[in-house]
Amino acid sequence: MHWLFEPGLFTSAPVRTALAVGTVAAVVSAVVGVFTILRGLAFAGHALTDVAATGGSGAVLVGASPLSGFLSGALIGAGAIAVSEGPESHHREIATGVVLSAATGLSALLLYLDATTTATTGVTQRVLFGSLFSTSASTVPLTVVLGTAVLVLTAVIARPLLLTSLSRELARARGIRVTLVSSAFLLIVAMAVGLSALTVGSLLSTALLVGPAAAAVRWTARIGRALLLASAIGVLSTWLGVVIAYDSYNWMPHQRSLPVGFSVVVVIVTVYLLSAMRTSGPRGDHRG
């Protein structure tokens, strides 16, 4: 196994931090991701990651921590999407797109200002693609607390959320406050996204959200098992990705290692493709 686990892998403190933070992010993203897929919110989830990036860029500008930047960005984005949903459902995709483009424009400005007014370099790379290996160990307790909060909140709204995702009418007829539950879920996605943006960067936290969950639901119809399986896939992909990224320092020419985000995503996408091939052939979608 020597070729896979290069010397110093497990004794390296940054690696251990990376694995700890990565595991929390993977589990939280996977659990939230299953519900995201259920509700057809993959695009909104992605939009929130980009808005999180805006927050991250803003954080650098004012000297705040990246995590706080990601979180505030995502939460504001979630609020904007929730508010701009029109009476008809097709407004949501357009509204999500507009929120996304507005946030991206703002990112452009903030990153430009970061580069021209502050002394920090490589902000674009870090915000967008992650800085897992340079995350400080002090973030670990915070991520664990935040991750636990997200999971608890999801468990609390799980049943109303499930029914609302299948049919808003049925849910309303039973007295479920559909708007409350939907908005609460968007906030949950925002928090999950903010958390994972720290590990693989905002551009790629969509992968952690959507990939393991999308793969898991093809293997099982039982939602409890889907949650467990998605978490397992997410955690394993993250670990494998971290290992590969660490090792790549020695494999790649020019001694430039691959970004962690890249290796994690490749593993996730591979797992998904394998799962996709499991069911036979093309089939129609009932909902676009």
């Binding site: 057809g40 990112s107 452009a108 551009l203």
Partner: protein, 275 residues
């Protein structure tokens, strides 16, 4: 400066036309993913050794085909998202290996219009014309399949092929817009003006003209603002695009409340609104 105007106008017109169909088909997510795929290609250019424009185009088309291919196998949203992240991941890998510096990455993502060279106008014009002609030649089929896919299918329009074909047009449109507006902001130019136009005007031909009008005006204003402040063009494009969309939503809302206050009996079943 002159080239920025020419290039910008061509880009805006193409984005307006193609974006209109994107919004019509409600394929907004795909329109976001394809430019990101193009980004991966551009990032890989120096690593692979091709010209940036070529690798950009190849990557954009590959992304378009990837999306339309994977779509038939599973959830539309989720598979589109995965193609996106794969493209970005590959892009980030290329970036880490290449000798390009950080500002190159920034330029690819957010645009470099002010540095457009004079050599680029000719090919851009040609590519833009190809995109517009492609859209107009299949105009009816695109309209029909967006509004009533079953009727379109019955008339022999192959949904799968129309989908792939249109996404390739989006890829080509992206190719000419990415160097100018950047991968992440092509999207604003395509979606905002078109969404606003479709809210305001019902007839497709007029809506598309309006969409193009919006995108060209946005581009011009953004250029002026970027020159004045030295801030990125993309920021102004996105902000103006958002404002235009919000304006359209407000107008629509005002129209709806105004209509409700004038009582009129109609003979169709109104859809139930929840209490």
């Amino acid at each position: 400066m002159i080239n920025a105007w020419e290039v910008g106008t061509i880009v805006a017109v193409v984005a307006g036309v193609v974006g209109f169909v994107v919004v019509l088909r409600r394929d907004v997510f795909a329109a976001h993913v394809i430019p990101n795929g193009a980004f991966a290609g551009a990032a890989g250019a120096s690593v692979v050794g091709w010209s940036p424009l070529v690798s950009l185009t190849v990557a954009a088309v590959a992304t378009a085909l990837g999306i339309s291919g994977l779509r038939r196998y599973g959830q539309r949203d989720a598979t589109t998202a995965l193609v996106l992240v794969l493209a970005l991941a590959i892009g980030s890998a290329f970036l880490s290996q290449s000798t390009q510096n950080a500002s190159a990455a920034y330029g690819l993502l957010f645009g470099e219009i002010l540095g457009a060279s004079s050599a680029s106008v000719g090919p851009l014009l040609l590519l833009g014309a190809v995109c517009i002609v492609a859209v107009l030649s299949r105009w009816r089929a695109l309209l029909l399949s967006a509004v009533t896919p079953d009727v379109a299918r019955a008339k022999g329009v192959s949904q799968g092929r129309l989908d792939s074909g249109f996404l390739i047009v989006v890829a080509l449109a992206t190719t000419l817009t990415v160097p100018v507006v950047g991968a992440l902001l092509v999207f604003s130019l395509m979606v905002g003006p078109a969404a606003a136009a479709q809210l305001l005007v019902a007839r497709p031909g007029r809506a598309m003209t309006l969409a193009t009008g919006f995108s060209v005006s946005i581009m011009w204003l953004a250029l002026v603002a970027a020159y004045a402040t030295e801030w990125p063009v993309g920021f102004f494009v996105a902000s103006l695009s958002t404002l235009v969309y919000l304006g359209a939503r407000l107008v629509t809302h005002w129209r709806a409340t105004h209509r409700r206050s004038t009582t009129r009996a109609t003979h169709h079943q109104p859809t139930g609104r929840s209490s």
